[in-house]
Amino acid sequence: MERRIPQFFFALSLIALALMLAAVWQAAAPEWKAYQQQFHRLEAVGEPNAAAKSEVLNASLVVRQDLLPGLQRVDRCTTCHLGVEDPTMKSALQPFTFHPNLTPHVPARFGCTVCHGGQGLATDRRNAHGEVAFWQEPLLPKEYIRASCGRCHKEGDVPGVPELTEGRRLFETQGCRGCHKLNGVGGSIGPDLTEEGAVRRSPNWLERHFLDPNTVSRKSPMPNFHFTKEQARALTFYMLSLTSEQMATYYSSVRLIPSAGYGRQLFVEKNCIVCHNIGGVGAKSGPDLLGVAKQHSAGWLDEQLVNPELVYPGSTMPAYDLETNARKAIIAFMDSATAEDAQSILSRRARPLTAQDAAIEAGKQSFARFGCVGCHGLQLQGGVPNPNSQGGEVPSLLHASDDYTKEEVIKIIRNGKAPPLENPAKPAPPLYMPSWKSVLADEDVNRIADYLWSLQKKKESW
């Protein structure tokens, strides 16, 4: 036995060393390195000279990842899919093939899995494509990838994905909400569909379900709607897009696809016509917008929309809080807007344009922007409780003209006002009208007063 012990010791030491080397070998030769080497060889073919070729062939092999904190994802797909942004790889075989139509959804900003599915954290093929147990989001089949557009672009038409629009339309018109809740609205007979795209990522199942519910969901009370194949596909697209994707501000702000049509919608919503004219049609206090997109760069126009004072100090144009893509949409509209557009917008107005409208619109914008609605209400109705003030609440401004003249109101806005006490013995009311003269210019205050006066309700006559 004694002879054996050191022999065992030696044998086991060798085995330990061997196992350690096996572990190191296993760690040193992961799948992705082979793919990267293959890609480098492919790239080297296209290099002009031997020095460039050798530089490419000896490039270091590293895991490549796109960190996407705004989408709460980490995508390592480009570790193997090295040719996605390389147009010379159009005819290369996967995983090196070029990805057409990437912009603006470049991997550095969007990653890959938010559209394609799969497991971004993984670095070997089976795991990365999600074809493993315990990963709920496998790669979407090719024909369904466009459904992912709806994960972010939740409103408006998505160019290139008519199925989404059709799916949304079918959902609302075929009465799905009668049994299914979506975003809190609907019946409880069927499952809540708010997260259907996150829960069920099998397009096959969804499509078969729409063609005949009972083939996949036995004893389901859902009736057979006899959808056509196209309709079933449209609805499948819609379902796949229903995830509650957590997105940071950047992504939310570019969600709406900037189109001239959307820009026109915003133009009407923000009442631009009350100051501006297009080709002479409209108001005259602001400049003519016809062809403005050709006279100034997109960047200049964008800046104008964000901060009019910067470009034109002293400008009466209010600063609107518009998202990046909303501004892009307006500029897109500017590019194509004509006098006819202005005419049609004018004719749809409830009241004809007056000279006052510009000032009133600016006043309305200031009223919203500086938080007056916080106490006085969106409809100027007041009503916010203010203990121990006379009346017990913040007053409505709809009858201000009965108790005050315009000059008095302007003075109150500039200097502020403490509300009169109901009971002088009790403590002062917590809410009061602050002084705005150091924040608002006199013209702004006047415009707010104009706005208020435009909404005054006359006291009923006795």
């Binding site: 010791f9 085995i15 296993q26 795991n127 709920q136």
Partner: protein, 411 residues
């Protein structure tokens, strides 16, 4: 190291080695005496500490980053999956080996006087090992982890009076969430390892104090239990104790000096049956260490530790099972929460702790302890059967489903 003096000095002058005696009894080195289970358990603990510290460099105890870090260890960190596997399999191994070690100590009667207290320390170490395994189980933050701990802490809450409070302290809330993960992490990497280390020190020290490893059971045949020896201070009239003669070495001198004599030193009769710790004991321990390490490494190269999908509090897997060493408990609970989940396990643990004090039989020979051995064997078998039932025979809804039955319609 070529002289006897050199070999002795190597041991007692070395900070790492001096817990060993300079010489050990040859018979204690036999594999079939202890199977080196104590050493193996300790080595597994060392593997766990080493791999655990390595993993700590890449793990954040906050959901959901914890799960992402598990994926990073699996896919991106160099040797990440290997180290994680080693940690997981060594953990399961340690639970099994500490249990087997307890069985060995029982079957060789090595808990009897003077080793009673060390047995108690051992039981506490066993419970701490389960605790370490349980707290570590939550850290991957996947469905397996989340629901196993949900079930486990709910079983614990059935304890009367203190159950709900203990659950609240463990979870830092009403249900398993961020606070639970952080608390379990602190317990797992700091508190429990520190306590285990301290108690292990006491455990090893007590082995020496109690006279080293017990004599192998097959050597006991040679003794007659009727031969008695009187012991006590040399000049006192009344002896302190009259005990069966034992060849076990004791260290009574220290106590005599302090005035509290317990045993007198008994002369060593088998001087020729002892060998120097270096090299005999050390090489054997080295072999045991290597065998442990290579086994854990080999298993880790080929079997992946599980990682299911991200923990989802609103989606309960059916069935939701506690970690395997608690499945026996969960099986009991499924029959009766209070009786099965609280009373029986508590009584079992108390009985375990009390064994050395309620066992009046001073003999360690198996022939003299038939009923003790039968009782303990029953305890082991019942535990194993319960765990097997809980693992293999319980399906959705905790229904009895043999593992060979096909579960139709499972989605």
């Amino acid at each position: 190291m070529s002289t006897d003096k050199g070999k002795s000095e190597l041991v007692f002058l070395n900070v790492w080695l001096h817990i060993h005696p300079a010489k050990v009894k040859k018979e204690n080195l036999r594999v079939r005496h202890t199977f080196y289970l104590g050493f193996i358990t300790f080595y597994l603990f060392l593997i766990l500490v080493t791999t655990g510290v390595a993993l700590m460099f890449y793990y954040r105890p906050h959901p959901p980053q914890a799960y992402q870090d598990m994926k990073d260890l699996q896919f991106v960190v160099y040797l990440g999956s290997f180290l994680r596997n080693m940690h997981r399999w060594a953990a399961h191994g340690m639970v099994i080996c500490v249990f087997l070690h307890m069985c060995r100590v029982f079957y060789t009667g090595s808990y009897k006087r003077p080793r009673q207290f060390n047995w108690v320390i051992g039981v506490v170490l066993f419970l701490l090992t389960l605790g370490l395994s349980f707290t570590g189980y939550l850290l991957p933050w996947d469905q397996l982890a989340f629901w196993a701990i949900t079930v486990g802490t709910n079983i614990g809450s059935y304890a009367p009076l203190v159950g709900a409070r203990i659950r609240e302290l463990l979870l830092g809330g009403h249900s398993v969430g961020e606070s639970a993960l952080l608390r379990f992490y602190v317990l797992h990497v700091a508190v429990l390892p520190a306590v285990v280390t301290l108690l292990t020190m006491v455990h090893f020290w007590r082995v020496r104090k109690d006279g080293g490893l017990s004599r192998p059971v097959w050597k006991l045949k040679e003794e007659t239990s009727t031969q008695l020896v009187t012991i006590g201070p040399p000049d006192a009239g009344v002896p302190l104790a009259v005990v069966p003669a034992s060849k076990d070495k004791t260290y009574g001198l220290m106590e005599v000096v302090t005035g509290k004599p317990i045993f007198e030193t008994v002369s060593m009769e088998e001087e020729e049956d002892t060998v120097f710790s270096y090299p005999y004991a050390f090489f054997r321990e080295g072999v045991a260490l290597l065998a442990t390490v290579t086994t854990v490494m080999a298993v880790s190269l080929f079997w992946q530790a599980p990682l299911e999908e991200l923990a989802n509090p609103v989606k309960t897997p059916n069935p939701a099972k506690a970690p395997w060493y608690f499945l026996g408990l969960q099986e009991l609970v499924s029959h009766s929460a209070l009786l099965g989940g609280v009373i029986v396990p508590t009584l079992a643990v108390l009985a375990l702790i009390a064994i050395p004090y309620i066992d009046p039989n001073p003999s360690r020979r198996p022939a003299d302890r038939k009923w003790a051995i039968r009782a303990f064997t029953l305890f082991v078998v019942v535990n194993v059967v319960l765990i097997i039932v809980g693992t293999l025979f319980r399906g959705p809804g905790w229904a009895f489903v043999p593992p060979w039955a096909h579960i139709a319609g499972a989605e």
